[in-house]
């Protein structure tokens, strides 16, 4: 954190006047978190066994051996297929631009399929398709990301070991319904696991360490982060809103039952990156995120503070965004075990401590406005800035197992007739006008040729042959499924203008 942002924080603290008396003489409210009311405010989901729907029929299994290209197998594979990559070293970027592919590393006696970027390649695995599984790889020495998703829904990223890749270890972005579990990620310049602009996410049983941020939930909704071990990062677990991104909120995040230990690694984030402003020694950080529940974590030996909750004015290195609400509202802190946090904290926290006549360790610090936040058993912790927190009217999140969607996120369904119109108007009319020549022959001419024969026209659309010397060859429209091809043929044969 640079000196400028420290100064700004200090000004906010003093201007805000966080002088709230400590309740030394009042008997604490002791709440049992065993049993009792459970949180019911979050996303309602049925219990689901995973993020990717189970296959009802098994596709082809493609085997990739050392010396082969994984991408060649991806290019050959059809949706529904599985690609098994045998132990060995592979240096390539794999991109999956199709649906329902399971990319599985095979582990033999501890030897993994290893993707090695040699310090030269950009990303190891990119996917944009839906229903993608990526598991059991070892990924190292890439410059960009280990595994990156761009808008794929229903994904499972599991049991991968990612060491010393560049910016993010695992980064699903703009996707709905994903499971990230049992990965071991270390040595990452930004976040080891970064959930960006996504919905319905479950991050569990991962070990993240030696990175700037361990696990980051950014501009995302309905996420559960549980049973992870985040240690020896600059910051352990983060939930925040980055302003300037096109999706503006982080809401409904449960951070529970994680180990958040010894996150004191000096910040080695790239200059200008959002995480470069995180002070070393941050256990859990909530910034501008709403409805975040922190429960059941063991948070210890984080030198700045165990839990920091703040708003956007904390960070002067980030942009201004009128559409982004800067405050952390409705932070809910249930029982956590917090030991020896804040033993060597930053000057802003010390300054805030002074205003509250607080000395020594700091478990929880809240800076900036907050509406509707609550805590139970506050007397257990060394706290700053939480005087306006109420008592939570629930004690646990036991009734919420997951925010994953039962059966997965469903694709948009459009009836065949509408698909025909969409494809005709969206594509065909670029080259075919109703009367007269555009690039191809007129629709009237086509109608005369294929009257009563939509299947014949659909077959032609799928695999055109050159018929007219003075016309360019029509490109095949075989990327449309056969149902859509027939629908567009039927539609084309009945248009009348």
């Amino acid at each position: 954190m640079n000196s400028k942002s420290k100064m700004v924080l200090a000004i906010i603290i003093f201007a805000g006047g966080w002088i709230i008396g400590s309740n030394n003489n009042i008997a604490p409210v002791i709440t049992s978190s065993v049993g009792g009311a459970s949180y019911g405010g979050g996303f309602q989901s049925d219990i689901s066994v995973g993020a990717v729907p189970h296959r009802t029929t098994l596709g082809t299994v493609h085997i990739v051996n050392p010396g082969d290209s994984i991408q060649t197998a991806v290019a050959t594979a059809q949706p529904g297929d599985t690609i098994q990559v045998m132990p060995g070293t592979y240096s390539e970027t794999v991109y999956i631009d199709k649906d329902d592919i399971h990319l599985v590393g095979v582990i033999k006696q501890g030897n993994r399929a290893t993707m090695d970027g040699l310090g030269k390649l950009n990303d190891a695995i990119l996917y944009s398709g839906n229903n993608i599984i990526i598991e059991n790889f070892r990924i190292t020495r890439y410059k960009g990301n280990g595994i990156m998703g761009q808008a794929g829904n229903n994904f499972e990223i599991r049991n991968n070991v990612i060491v010393d890749t560049g910016i993010y270890g695992i980064f699903p972005q703009l996707g709905t319904n994903g499971l990230v579990e049992h990965n071991v990620v270390s040595g990452i310049e930004d976040a080891a696991i970064y959930i960006g602009m996504s919905d319905n996410i479950h991050v569990a049983y991962n070990e993240v360490f030696d990175s700037v941020a361990g696990i980051e939930i950014e501009n995302s909704r309905h996420a559960i982060v549980e049973h992870n071990n985040a240690h020896h990062n600059t910051g352990g677990i983060l939930a925040f809103v980055t302003p300037g991104l096109p999706i503006k909120t982080t809401e409904d995040v449960i951070i529970r039952n994680n180990f958040v230990l010894n996150n004191n690694t000096p910040n080695f984030g790239a200059p200008g990156s959002i995480v470069s402003g995180i002070p070393a020694g941050t256990g859990i950080l909530v910034m501008a995120a709403d409805d975040v529940i922190i429960e059941g974590n063991i948070i210890s030996n984080n030198k700045t503070a165990g839990i920091i909750i703040n708003d956007h004015s904390f960070a002067t290195t980030i942009t201004m965004d009128v559409e982004s609400d800067p405050n952390s509202d409705r932070t809910m802190i249930l029982d956590n075990v917090m030991l020896n946090n804040g033993y060597d904290t930053i000057t802003e926290v010390t300054a805030l401590a002074l205003t509250e006549l607080h000395t020594g360790l700091v478990d929880i610090v809240h800076v900036g406005p907050s509406n509707g936040s609550c805590i139970i058993n506050r007397h257990r912790y060394r706290t700053l800035g939480i005087g306006n927190y109420g008592e939570c009217d629930f004690t646990n999140t036991d009734s919420t197992d997951t925010y994953l969607l039962a059966g997965g996120a469903k694709p948009r369904t459009i009836d065949p007739e509408a698909r025909g119109e969409i494809a005709y108007l969206g594509v065909c009319t670029g080259c075919h006008s109703y009367t007269g020549r555009l690039i191809g022959p007129s629709v009237k001419v086509i109608q005369a040729m294929y009257a009563g024969n939509p299947q014949g026209l659909a077959d032609y659309i799928n695999a055109p042959i050159k018929r007219r010397d003075n016309f360019p060859e029509m490109p095949a429209q075989n990327y449309l499924d056969t149902q859509t091809q027939l629908a567009v043929a039927k539609y084309m044969l009945q248009v009348d203008n």
Partner: protein, 406 residues
């Protein structure tokens, strides 16, 4: 589409060459046989006419969804919400107005002067030239796919097509008209009162500024470019991109180059303001951009992320045209964070402006990929003649070129 009854397409070419010749010498209306104008009752290609006489956009991206319905993501992702629902007549009236110099104060400039369909609906200039030869501060953005935008102008100061449309009409540096003068001038053109009545049949007094804005918006919203080689690849044609273009796509979306983090598919913009720190042309003061719009110093030098669709057609690049080629524009991002920010200038650079150290080959591939975002299949027909009879030499030259290519 609207048609000029007097001319077939061959005659159109002859007419254009002829008018070009005369336009050099004449700024008065040509005294050819008075054409008859009527507005089309058909929607442009890619639109479906519904029973309320509204044109509804259809495209293959409507097969897909997007997170939070924001129209951002990867390959098979829905587009952002769009504007449509204008009538065929409004779209066609907008087309005639768009190409008619009578809209400007001195009757010399049409919208098409700076948004020339033959130049990707831009003008090939770093900074556009308005009325009286005044050079404006910024370049003319493309109008392709503006139906999908929710913020307009480089500095993000307008929030609708209508708000955008009237901006240049009444800007001193652009078309330099006034509302009163514009209405008066249009009223004096024989065809317009009747064409406005056709396009706005429920309007008691159809020739008003709001309806001009609506017609121009209607026309702009019909400029759809979604059939590039990239789009075919996105919809599932694995062979639609060459290997060089595909390599470029993977650089583009990699987290080293990070292009797609702001130029996000399928529109290739996330419509946010970003401060990237490009240099101004020599001798020009720093353009503070969105800092003025939002009264926020943190946005100093910030501009709306532009779409990259048809980007190969709209050189030069950046808000004031500093870079002549796409290669130069791409190279800017790999020359170091803040390398072009002058001494004494303080900019809060975007976090994705990093130091990716792209190779020359990677830059070449990025240029290849951006070339695969070109699709001008739905280019509208340039009217052979506009209702005022005024000529627009620059646009007509381009028309001859276009026809020559076919």
């Amino acid at each position: 589409m609207g048609k000029l009854i007097a001319h077939n397409s061959n005659a159109g070419v002859i007419f254009c060459v002829y008018s070009l010749f005369f336009s050099v010498f004449l700024s008065a209306p040509l005294s050819l046989a008075k054409p008859f104008f009527s507005l089309s009752d058909q929607c442009p290609p890619s639109f479906s006419l519904n029973s309320d006489n509204q044109c509804q956009l259809r495209n293959l991206y409507q097969f897909y969804d997007s997170l939070q319905d924001r129209g951002l993501g990867g390959l098979k992702t829905a587009l952002p919400e769009h504007r449509d629902g204008f009538s065929p007549q409004q779209i066609d009236l907008g087309r005639l107005l768009f190409f008619d110099p009578v809209l400007s104060g001195d009757k010399n400039l049409s919208c098409a002067n700076c948004h020339n369909p033959a130049l990707g609906f831009s003008d090939g200039m770093g900074r556009s030239v308005g009325a009286g030869g005044k050079v404006s501060q910024r370049s003319a953005p493309t109008l392709w796919n503006s139906a999908f935008l929710r913020v307009f102008f480089w500095d993000a100061r307008a929030n609708s097509l209508e708000e955008q449309a009237v901006g240049p009409l009444f800007s001193d540096h652009e078309m330099a008209n006034t509302p009163q003068q514009l209405i008066a001038n249009l009223s004096q053109v024989d065809a317009y009162p009747q064409l406005f009545s056709q396009a706005f049949p429920d309007s008691g007094d159809p020739l008003i500024i709001d309806n001009i804005a609506t017609a121009l918006s209607a026309f702009q919203s019909s400029l759809i470019s979604l059939n590039s080689p990239y789009d075919r690849y996105a919809h599932g044609d694995a062979n639609a991109l060459s290997s060089a273009e595909l390599e470029g796509l993977n650089v583009f979306r990699s987290f080293v180059a990070r292009c797609s983090q702001c130029h996000t598919p399928p529109l290739f913009t996330n419509q946010q303001v970003a401060v990237i720190g490009t240099p101004e042309p020599t001798g020009l003061a720093r353009d503070i951009g969105a800092a003025q719009t939002f009264n926020a110093e943190r946005l100093r030098g910030g501009f709306k992320v532009p779409t990259l669709r048809n980007i190969a057609r709209t050189a030069p690049y950046m808000h004031s045209g500093k870079f002549t080629t796409l290669r130069d524009a791409a190279e800017f991002y790999t020359k170091g964070r803040g390398h072009a920010v002058p001494e004494g200038e303080t900019l809060l650079l975007h976090w994705h402006i990093s130091d990716p150290k792209l190779t020359d080959t990677e830059l070449d591939r990025l240029v290849d990929f951006m070339g695969a975002l070109t699709d001008e299949r739905f280019i509208p027909k340039i009217p052979d003649q506009v209702p005022s009879g005024l000529l627009n030499s620059k646009v007509n030259i381009s028309l001859v070129t276009e026809l020559g290519e076919n």
